[in-house]
Symmetry: C2
Subunit: 286 residues, 2 copies
């Protein structure tokens, strides 16, 4: 099933169907790229990530963190345990949720969307539609599709773009409870990109620290602090070896081409039972 | 809707319906308790937790972490942002998933369960039932109920107890991919219990650390390390104030009645922009 790429042909995997936030990021990120470009939708984040490992696509875009709901666990767990891929881009997208209905809808009995989008609008929905049934779907876009296909008295929570694609009316705009709602997406490839423009980069690693005694994480953090390497995120996930055993994800400012970042990462690697470099990559806000 | 409790009457909220792992923990934990005891099922973890805050129940049992799938985010986020409750017990349950069918079933076309249970058995299910459709439900117990009500060619992933309650046959036992599969549950109350037996206790706090500069988390960790307080878990969750801003949950061995734990927690509190004591509590393994 591997898709071979001629020199300038690239295939980008993303979480479909049409109208997801992932598709919005993919279209914006690649709009200035040259060469032949194809976008391939998959039905789950896990399937998107594995499509790169299998060679079905040259790269993929997946969400990794939302400012309200936290990390996307399947993305972190796949990166740690299931695949050998590098992060080559980070993109931050402001999330604006809308209540979408079929034009002419008088009454809303059922509200459908992805679990995260519903969670992001919980206070709005329970205040304005206390009696509506809330139903979880695979994606904001499949929710919009369901409403467009004629489900009676249904509304979907999704992007304005999903509304346009599926010919839905915006019953209410910007219904997220908290204005600080943005999602970080990452591009994953089999090989790290050449570090041509090292400014404004981040580096991500994941490791299992040697030792459960007091201060073992602290010793690792000191390797960063002593070298003035700024950590932007620390996240623990199960090591899958037993309750209370974890791997730690560290995101830091700077590239592995920076001497202090390289020295800190090498020191952490030497203190780890298990270690993975997830790559250095530039940041985009769209 | 508040349920008033006579002196020895207690009502315990849990994630229903009958046959969930939460119910199993509730029944085992309270089997030696005296006094009149009632168990009240709720349909979501959020509803269970809020039932204590509202006074509908005297206490509740909710899952907080699985050894494979990680933290239960709604539990952590509610504790940090939505309610003012204390942890009074911790219970670890070994999770054993089974494939449950209506007796006489010849063919399995659809497999239903809670998302975490399905994830825990993913390799088993894709190997043995590559063509079956996988459907996510609210709980392992509601999946068992669906199969029991006669959904054709369906199987549920759930506990042996759920199988007994709903008169289902165990088609395959212990189908979890990883034997290190256990879940931590906590009991929540409005007030902390008196610390009668201070041995074998843990203490949990959540705080927002002052400062984004390199080493601010490290400075906090040093307060524990210098006093030989052993951290059993560190978890970051969104502070809900913007991408890249977090609250940290710290679990540690010992009680706030221990001088070194108290001193470390006081020092961390003084370095925090925001701080919450979630209580000191004994541990049970069942």
């Amino acid at each position: 099933m591997a898709v071979l790429e001629p020199a300038n042909e690239r295939v980008v995997g993303y979480l479909g169907p049409r109208g997801t936030y992932s598709e919005e990021v993919a279209l914006k990120l690649y709009q200035l790229e040259t060469g032949r470009l194809f976008f391939m939708p998959y039905t789950s984040i896990d399937a998107v990530i594995r499509s790169v490992e299998k060679g079905e696509v040259s790269e993929c875009i997946v969400p990794v963190e939302n400012s309200l709901e936290g990390s996307v666990n399947v993305t972190l767990d796949d990166l740690a345990h299931e695949v050998e891929l590098f992060i080559t881009r980070e993109i931050v997208l402001s999330i604006r949720n809308n209540l979408l209905v079929k034009p002419g809808t008088q009454k809303i009995d059922v509200i459908v969307s992805h679990a995260q989008a519903l969670a992001q609008c919980r206070h709005y929905l329970t205040t304005h539609y206390p009696d509506a049934e809330i139903k979880i779907m695979d994606s904001t876009a499949s929710a919009a599709y369901l409403v467009a296909s004629g489900a009676k008295n249904h509304a979907a929570v999704g992007s304005a773009r999903a509304g346009q694609i599926y010919n839905l009316a915006v019953q209410a705009a910007d219904i997220q409870d908290n204005p600080n709602n943005s999602t970080r997406f990452i591009v994953l490839k089999k090989d790290a990109d050449a570090d041509v423009f090292p400014a404004n980069r981040k580096t991500s690693i994941v490791c299992r620290i040697n030792g459960q005694h007091p201060g073992s994480l602290c010793n690792v953090l000191l390797e960063f602090a002593q070298r003035q390497v700024n950590l932007t995120k620390i996240e623990s996930r199960p090591a899958r070896t037993g309750l209370g055993e974890y791997v730690f994800f560290f995101d830091m400012q700077g590239s592995l081409n920076d001497a202090n970042v390289r020295a800190a990462v090498d020191a952490v690697k030497s203190k780890s039972l298990w270690f993975k470099n997830l790559g250095s990559y530039p940041l985009y806000a769209i």
